[in-house]
């Protein structure tokens, strides 16, 4: 990814990733206040390093791990022991663990395949709608698109993913196709 020249595009990155980052943190912590605080710290860190960040997605997910750990260290609570920080990997997939069944890992890998998405915006769009149940209308508002644009792109990605799932013999995909 090309290096961004000006921090003014920080706002665009914020709009694109905030809902995703917030949702990931909320899924892990179950607390709206904690999720807002941690997301804020993550984006402050991004702002401060914006000129040097090449891959915003990877950078944000890495910073996320640190900030969750930092947050609970600062608060001095035992909550960090119940938050699986390591599973906040370089993807928005929310439940990959060591004991995850092979089928689930294959699905996660297919979802993480960059070829499914024409650009990063499409990837965020799909993750918000499919993984976190945001409505097309909400996703459209976050990304500055129309609801119909979101639905069109979502369906396009969905078809690609479902075909790949079918190729891998994932059960349950046939019904959808």
């Amino acid at each position: 990814m090309l290096k961004r020249a000006k921090p003014s595009s920080f706002r665009n990155s914020y709009n694109e990733y905030y809902p995703l980052i917030f949702s990931m943190i909320y899924t892990k912590t179950g607390s709206r206040e904690d999720a807002e605080d941690i997301a804020q710290e993550v984006f402050i860190r991004l702002y401060n390093n914006y000129d040097d960040v090449r891959d915003i997605r990877n950078w944000l997910f890495t910073a996320l791990r640190f900030e969750i750990s930092n947050y609970y260290n600062k608060k001095g609570t035992a909550k960090k022991d119940t938050v699986d920080i390591e599973s906040l990997g370089d993807s928005a997939i929310v439940a990959i663990e060591d004991e995850t069944p092979e089928t689930t890992i294959i699905i996660a890998e297919i979802l993480a395949d960059k070829n499914n998405y024409e650009n990063e915006e499409e990837r965020v769009l799909f993750e918000l709608a499919a993984l976190y149940s945001f409505s097309f209308k909400d996703v459209a508002a976050f990304l500055g698109l129309t609801r119909w644009q979101v639905e069109y792109r979502y369906k396009k990605i969905e078809v690609k993913i479902l075909h790949k799932l079918k190729e891998k013999g994932i059960t349950g995909a046939d019904d959808i196709l």
């Binding site: 905030y18 809902p19 949702s23 702002y47 914006y50 000129d51 040097d52 920080i85 929310v94 959808i176």
Partner: protein
């Protein structure tokens, strides 16, 4: 009427069956939009952009008020000047380079299933003190290798007791790739030997550190 998100729910069902979805309550989802702008303002405020603009604006405002007392025409000039200044500050603030914050500490997270938290924290402190007299230097060294791009290196460790022995493992991880850059382990025959064991670990990490830099490190040992 067709449910606009009907297709989405079908694919979501598959993901849900495999535990790949996050559970965000509807009220939380609907509040994200409204909280986004508020949180953005907080971020900009904390990073100093608004503070700078407010300071400059306030300074100009009070200076112009003083001029107004002895120059009546300033009543017209002042509002114009204020609007122009506010616009200029907004443009300047948007285009200012982000302030560089150099890393000042190494983030670490030690854990243990068999030892008390106080013991883990004490050992963690001993190791970190031994490793790094000047926090941040390890990050600089790692940056030179091109492994840490704008992120801090992560030092993680574990302590486990088996009988009277305590086993300590320390890893240095490149957070960008999750690759383990260095791993070392040692054991202490008992609690009293723990400080000595942590010094051994620190020395080994120093050796790794020195291998990343052109010149030998001169920190604590």
């Amino acid at each position: 009427m067709k449910n606009p998100d009907q297709n989405k729910s079908q694919v979501r069902e598959l993901l849900q069956n495999h535990g790949l979805t996050g559970n965000i309550p509807p009220d939380i989802r609907s509040n994200i939009s409204s909280s986004m702008d508020k949180n953005y303002r907080k971020i900009i405020k904390k990073t100093g952009g608004l503070t700078l603009a407010a300071s400059i604006g306030g300074f100009i405002f009070f200076m112009l008020r003083r001029i107004e007392t002895w120059l009546p025409a300033a009543k017209i000039v002042i509002p114009l000047a204020l609007v122009s200044t506010a616009s200029a500050v907004a443009i300047i603030t948007q285009n200012l380079p982000a302030p560089r914050v150099e890393p000042t500490m190494l983030l670490r997270s030690f854990h243990s299933a068999t030892l008390k938290d106080e013991m883990v924290e004490k050992t963690e402190r001993l190791i970190m003190t031994g490793i790094n007299g000047k926090p941040g230097e390890l990050h600089v060294a790692l940056s030179k290798t091109g492994t840490a791009q704008g992120t801090l290196p992560l030092i993680v460790g574990s302590l486990e007791r088996a009988g009277t022995n305590i086993f300590i493992t320390v890893k240095i991880i490149d957070p960008l790739t999750s690759k383990i850059l260095f791993i070392t382990e040692t054991s202490a025959a008992g609690d009293k030997e723990l400080p000595e064991a942590t010094q051994k670990l620190a020395a080994q990490i120093h050796a790794f550190w020195a291998s990343l830099t052109d010149t030998p490190h001169s920190g604590n040992r």
